[in-house]
Structures are given as structure tokens and as C-alpha cells.
């Protein structure tokens, strides 16, 4: 039975996995573990986050290029380096920035089986695939790429700023199974997205044709949806500070509303093996306010303008070939700005982990604590994934979670992800009486020289944690 469950887990997790905040996943001392798995096993009876400081999370990454690739101080020409870097990247390379800032966080045990947690956090999430073909066309032109299509499909990005209000319940179902759910109310501040675009531009050589080349745009359909952008655009001369103030003023129920759900569970296979899994942000934001959509669509081909040599007197006006050409383009390659509401799905995150514990520890006795077994060491494997426009972004993490004593704990992790093969992360948490601080950082080998790092991530925070 146990191996069947493990096989099922591995099969399922290989299909739906990736990367979020692996260092805080399954850390049963920290309330933040409930944010990545509402069904996590937890080891506290209450918590109150220090407002604005209970979690500050920053992560940024680029799979195709780092700062050194572009700005290397090696005497070579920067434009040559940019060209080489762009050529080495492909349209599945991406740039990602995620920031979460916990404003309020608190939770408490309702009874022996149920833990209620709630809070507010603000999130910025930007994810953009490298628009290789449009970028190469802009940087190099079409001359070296005759008969090769430039695909507008490469334009794919999402960006959002939102405030999240959440309420979650963690329920100890029985000795083995803990389940949890978290309801989320999203208040969207800003959104911009452009996905599922189509179209290609090609310059064909046409030996035997009417001209040297034929320029062709086929199946163009590019849509950029925005909400919360129009008022910023309309304000001429708005400074960055003013724009930021305007955005922040919408933080509390000022924007577009959405709903979401996190689900999670953990299951003790036997005393030492624990399986856990979660999905986060099963939800959507309904973009209704301050919406502007920009659409570019159509098809057109040309080999040039054709003079007709009309029989004109000196006083006659020449045929307005250019105007006719422009009218034809406007009829065939169209653009429109609309205000149609749209729905954005949140980037779903999935986490699955299997842990093996050894070196038993003993918990402080408390009538609300029902967790019987605890280990000083946990060896684990975690698969995680985030759904992005072109599919899941994956990461596989192996970790050693070590409890030094009742007040200190560290977790060291090695991750394989799109950014690097040498991603080593470290989490350290310490509790002084009831006051807890934690710091976690990924890709430590990259921190000594961030210019050569493809990614960096840090989480830190402080809170009061009660366990008796």
C-alpha cells in the first residue's frame, strides 16, 4: 500500500510540478508553511505576525541571460554581447519577478483538530517570455533573416499587482491525514497581459517575382489586455512617485475583484515517511474596472508601390500612391482599442514533497498539540511547479531539514530548475521565547556575484509564535 501511494505520488508529481518558495514548505515551526500548504503538519498553537514584517519575499530570475552577459567589463563591445546573448536565447527563456509582502498575519488553534489562519498580503508578479523574433527584428533587422519568419507568437507576458485577503483552515483529520484549505479574495491593483498571440512577418526573396522581395504579414492577432493602466497613461507628466501612490491607493478594495482557493494535505505513510502536497491560487481575477484592450490584427503582403505612368498635364496632381498604400494597409492591418472586461487566471502553483524523518524529538506537552512524532532531521524531495502561459515551470528540490534544538532550525536545499544546476538554498529560523525570526535565501552560490547569477530569492520575516 505504501509503495503504491509513493508510485502514484511520483507519477502525479512528474506531471504537475514546479517552484515557489521551497525553503518554507513543510517547515512546521513557521506559520508561513500554511501559505504554501494549508494542509501542512504544524507545530504551534497560535501566531501573530509583526505587521508589515512577517514576510518579505523577493525573487527574480532570468533563464537566458544574466547581467554579466550584457555588462561584462571585459573590453568587448556591449552591442556585440547583446546580439550574441539574444541569439543564444530562445522564445521559451523567461524573466520572472515575484514579490510578496505580508501586511497582516495571524492564526490560532480552534480546538485539538483545527487551526484557523488569516491575513493580508500584497503581491507583484511579472513573468515575460523573451520575445525573441520581435527583439531580433528590432535589433538586427530583416536583412540577415530573408525567408525566415519572425513570429509574433513570441510575445507573451503577464504582470499583476494585487492585494490578497485570505482565511484558511488546517484540519487534522486523523492520526495520519491533515488537510487544509484557504479561501482568497483578490483585489487587483494593476494587470497587463498578452498571451496566445499569433502572426508572422517574413521577407521572401522572389527570383522571377515582381520585385526583389515580398514582405508578408500573415495571421496577425496580438492582444494586450490592461486594467488599472489607463488612468496612469492619461495623466501626462505623472512621476514614478505619483504613479506608485496612485497604485497604492487602490490597494484596499480599490480595484478588480477575484476569488481563489488553496488546497493541501499531508499524510503520514508510516512513522517516518510523510507525503505532502498542495495547490495554490486556484482562482481568477475579474478585470472590470479601468480596462483597456489593444488589439492588432490582419494580414497583408506587398512588393512595393507601382507607378502607372498616367498621361498628366503639368498642372495635374500626381496619383497619391502613398495614400492609397496607407489606406490599404489600414484596411488590412488593423488596430483597435476597446474596454472589454476580461478574466485572468492566477498562476497556479503545485507542490509535492516526500520526507523521511530520523532522530526522534519530543514536543512540549500541550493539550492542543496532537502531533505525536517529531524528528530532529528530515530528508526530503520536493517537486514544485508554477503554471505560466506556455506551460508549467518546474523545480526539483532535495533538502535536509535539521532541528538544532527547540528554538533553532535550518534547512539546506539543492534545487534543479530552469535557472541553474547549482541552486543551493539555506533557511534559518530562531525563536526567542515567543519571538521568531527567519531568513531564507536561494541560489547562495550566486550571491557573491549576482551579476553572474541567473536568479536570486530571499524571504525574511518575524512574528510571535505560540506553542503552549
Amino acid at each position: 500500500m505504501m509503495w503504491r501511494l509513493i508510485c502514484f505520488f511520483l507519477l502525479f508529481s512528474s506531471a504537475v510540478v514546479s517552484q515557489n518558495k521551497p525553503l518554507l514548505f513543510n517547515v512546521d515551526d513557521l506559520p508561513q508553511t500554511l501559505m504554501s500548504n494549508p494542509g501542512a503538519q504544524i507545530n504551534f498553537t497560535g501566531h501573530i505576525g509583526i505587521p508589515l514584517f512577517s514576510q518579505i519575499h523577493l525573487s527574480a530570475g532570468s533563464t537566458g541571460a544574466d547581467l554579466y552577459d550584457i555588462f561584462a567589463d571585459d573590453g568587448t563591445n556591449i552591442n556585440t554581447r547583446i546580439q550574441e546573448t539574444m541569439r543564444n536565447m530562445n522564445s521559451r527563456d523567461y524573466f520572472a519577478v515575484n514579490q510578496q509582502w505580508e501586511i497582516l498575519s495571524l492564526g490560532w488553534k480552534l480546538d485539538r483538530k483545527n487551526y484557523l489562519s488569516t491575513g493580508i498580503y500584497q503581491e507583484v508578479d511579472v513573468f515575460a517570455y523573451f520575445p525573441k523574433d520581435p527583439a531580433v527584428l528590432t535589433n538586427e533587422g530583416n536583412s540577415n533573416y530573408l525567408n525566415e519568419p519572425f513570429y509574433f507568437d513570441d510575445v507573451s507576458f503577464t504582470g499583476e499587482i494585487l492585494t490578497v485577503y485570505h482565511l484558511g483552515i488546517n484540519h487534522k483529520f486523523d492520526k495520519r491525514l491533515t488537510v487544509g484549505a484557504r479561501a482568497k479574495l483578490y483585489s487587483g491593483i494593476f494587470n497587463a497581459e498578452s498571451t496566445g498571440n499569433t502572426g508572422r512577418f517574413t521577407t521572401y526573396t522572389t527570383p522571377g517575382g515582381r520585385n526583389v522581395y515580398r514582405h508578408e504579414v500573415v495571421d496577425l492577432d496580438v492582444l494586450i489586455n490592461t486594467s488599472g493602466f489607463a488612468p496612469l497613461k492619461d495623466e501626462e507628466g505623472m512621476t514614478v512617485e505619483q504613479a506608485t501612490a496612485e497604485l497604492l491607493s487602490r490597494s484596499f478594495f480599490g480595484g478588480n475583484v477575484g476569488f481563489g482557493l488553496d488546497l493541501g494535505l499531508s499524510y503520514i505513510l508510516d512513522e517516518q515517511f510523510i507525503l505532502s502536497g498542495s495547490v495554490q491560487d486556484l482562482g481568477a481575477v475579474f478585470q472590470r474596472k479601468e480596462v483597456e484592450n489593444y488589439r492588432y490584427f490582419g494580414a497583408y503582403e506587398t512588393s512595393g508601390l507601382e507607378p502607372l505612368f498616367p498621361d498628366l498635364d503639368e498642372n495635374d496632381e500626381a496619383i497619391p500612391y502613398w495614400d492609397i498604400f496607407e489606406d490599404e494597409i489600414d484596411r488590412n492591418l488593423r488596430d483597435e482599442t476597446t474596454n472589454q472586461s476580461y478574466t485572468t487566471w492566477r498562476p497556479i502553483k503545485a507542490n509535492f514533497a516526500m520526507e523521511y524523518g530520523f532522530g526522534p524529538a519530543f514536543l512540549p506537552c500541550h493539550y492542543l498539540s496532537v502531533k505525536k512524532v517529531r524528528y530532529m532531521n528530515l530528508l526530503g524531495m520536493q517537486l514544485s511547479g508554477v503554471k505560466r502561459p506556455k506551460g508549467f515551470v518546474y523545480a526539483l528540490t532535495a533538502y535536509w531539514d535539521r532541528k538544532i534544538n527547540e528554538n533553532q532550525r535550518f534547512k539546506i536545499a539543492y534545487s534543479l530548475d530552469d535557472y541553474s544546476l547549482t541552486n543551493i538554498g539555506l533557511m534559518y529560523t530562531r525563536t526567542f521565547n515567543k519571538f521568531n525570526v527567519y531568513l531564507a535565501a536561494n541560489n547562495l552560490l550566486g550571491f557573491p556575484n549576482l551579476a553572474k547569477a541567473h536568479s536570486a530569492s530571499i524571504q525574511l520575516g518575524m512574528q510571535l509564535i505560540f506553542n503552549k
Binding site: 509583526i50 514584517f53 547581467l67 554579466y68 555588462f71 561584462a72 567589463d73 571585459d74 563591445n77 556591449i78 552591442n79 547583446i82 527584428l137 528590432t138 535589433n139 538586427e140 533587422g141 530583416n142 536583412s143 540577415n144 530573408l146 521577407t203 515582381r210 520585385n211 526583389v212 522581395y213 515580398r214 514582405h215 506587398t302 512588393s303 512595393g304 508601390l305 507601382e306 507607378p307 502607372l308 505612368f309 498616367p310 498621361d311 500626381a318 496619383i319 497619391p320 500612391y321 502613398w322 496607407e326 526567542f432 519571538f435 525570526v437 531568513l439 535565501a441 550571491f447 557573491p448 556575484n449 549576482l450 551579476a451 553572474k452 536570486a456 530571499i458 525574511l460 518575524m462
Partner: protein
């Protein structure tokens, strides 16, 4: 008070650690951003025509009209990217001729006030039906003369049939393109 000072010390320590991490970017020179430029090379078709002897027929007299011309405005030459960022243009003109006579081609670029900026003149070699002859011409306008392109807005194509005794029958195909180099 004790808690407050503890809180401040720990928070400062966290910020210092974070800043230490984030300030570690070595072996790079961000001031190079001022040297970043885009340098696209664009191949752009310009004018085409495909005419036969009927185009040289004077509708009033029915006689051969030895000189015909037409003017096409190239409005894109007035756009910002041409005015500010164009570094050179290599024009290419090609005629494929089956008329059995030489034809002089004059391609003139004029400003808005019809002042000639530059001109490309060449003789199209005679061909024959079933034996088209190709005449090609390039005109490279480099940085020193690129203002001539920037000041142009009209392209005048002019054909002048040279005298001869053979019947003036055939076709004349014209193709043209520009190889525009930019530095943004």
C-alpha cells in the same frame, strides 16, 4: 523596551545581510548602458512596374511618346527613424528589357519643394522578345550624404526611349529596393 530594542537590532541585522547580498555584483560596468544601440539593417522594397509599348503611346496623336515619367511620394522618408537614426542606404534598381532599343532611366529624389537631392541615371540595355536583358544599378548613400535621403520625399521615375529604326515593341520590368541601415 527590551523587546523593542531586540526587534530593531534583529531587523537591522536582516536588512544589512540582505543589502550585503544584493550589493554583490562584480566584473560588470553598468555605465556601458550609454553605449547600447540598436543597429537594424532593413531590406525594403520600393517601386515596381511592368510596362509595354502601350504605355509609350501618345493618346492624342497615336505616336510614340519617347519620354514618360511618374512621381511617387515616399512619406516614410519623413519619419523620425529616418530623420534621426538612418546611417546609410544602398539603393538597388533593376530593369529587365525586351524592347529592342536603349532606354535612359533617370531616378530622381526630390524634396517637398521639388528641389533635386540626388539622381541616379543609367542606360537600360536593349533586349529582344525572348531575350530579355537585365540592367542593374546600385547607389550607395553613406553617412556623409545621408542628409540627401532625409531631405527627400518624392521619387521620380523617368524613362526616355532612344532613337532607333526597329519597331518599338516589348516589355520593361522594373524592380527596386533599399538596404537601410540604422543606428538607434
Amino acid at each position: 523596551m527590551k523587546f523593542h530594542s531586540f526587534f530593531l537590532i534583529k531587523f537591522r541585522a536582516l536588512i544589512v545581510v540582505s543589502c550585503l547580498f544584493l550589493s554583490c555584483a562584480k566584473d560588470i560596468d553598468l555605465s556601458q548602458r550609454e553605449n547600447i544601440s540598436l543597429t537594424p539593417d532593413l531590406q525594403i522594397d520600393l517601386l515596381i512596374y511592368d510596362i509595354d509599348q502601350s504605355q509609350f503611346n501618345d493618346p492624342t496623336t497615336g505616336n510614340l511618346k519617347t519620354r514618360i515619367s511618374d512621381t511617387v511620394r515616399l512619406e516614410f522618408l519623413d519619419d523620425d527613424y529616418i530623420q534621426n537614426d538612418l546611417s546609410s542606404v544602398d539603393f538597388y534598381f533593376r530593369h529587365i528589357n525586351t524592347f529592342p532599343r536603349e532606354i535612359v532611366s533617370k531616378i530622381r529624389f526630390l524634396s517637398e519643394s521639388n528641389v533635386e537631392q540626388f539622381t541616379v541615371n543609367y542606360t537600360i540595355q536593349p533586349g529582344a522578345t525572348g531575350n530579355p536583358i537585365t540592367t542593374e544599378e546600385n547607389e550607395l548613400i553613406e553617412e556623409g550624404r545621408v542628409d540627401l535621403v532625409r531631405r527627400s520625399i518624392k521619387m521620380v521615375v523617368e524613362l526616355e526611349v532612344q532613337p532607333g529604326t526597329t519597331a518599338f515593341e516589348g516589355e520593361l520590368d522594373f524592380a527596386s529596393k533599399g538596404f537601410f541601415s540604422f543606428e538607434f
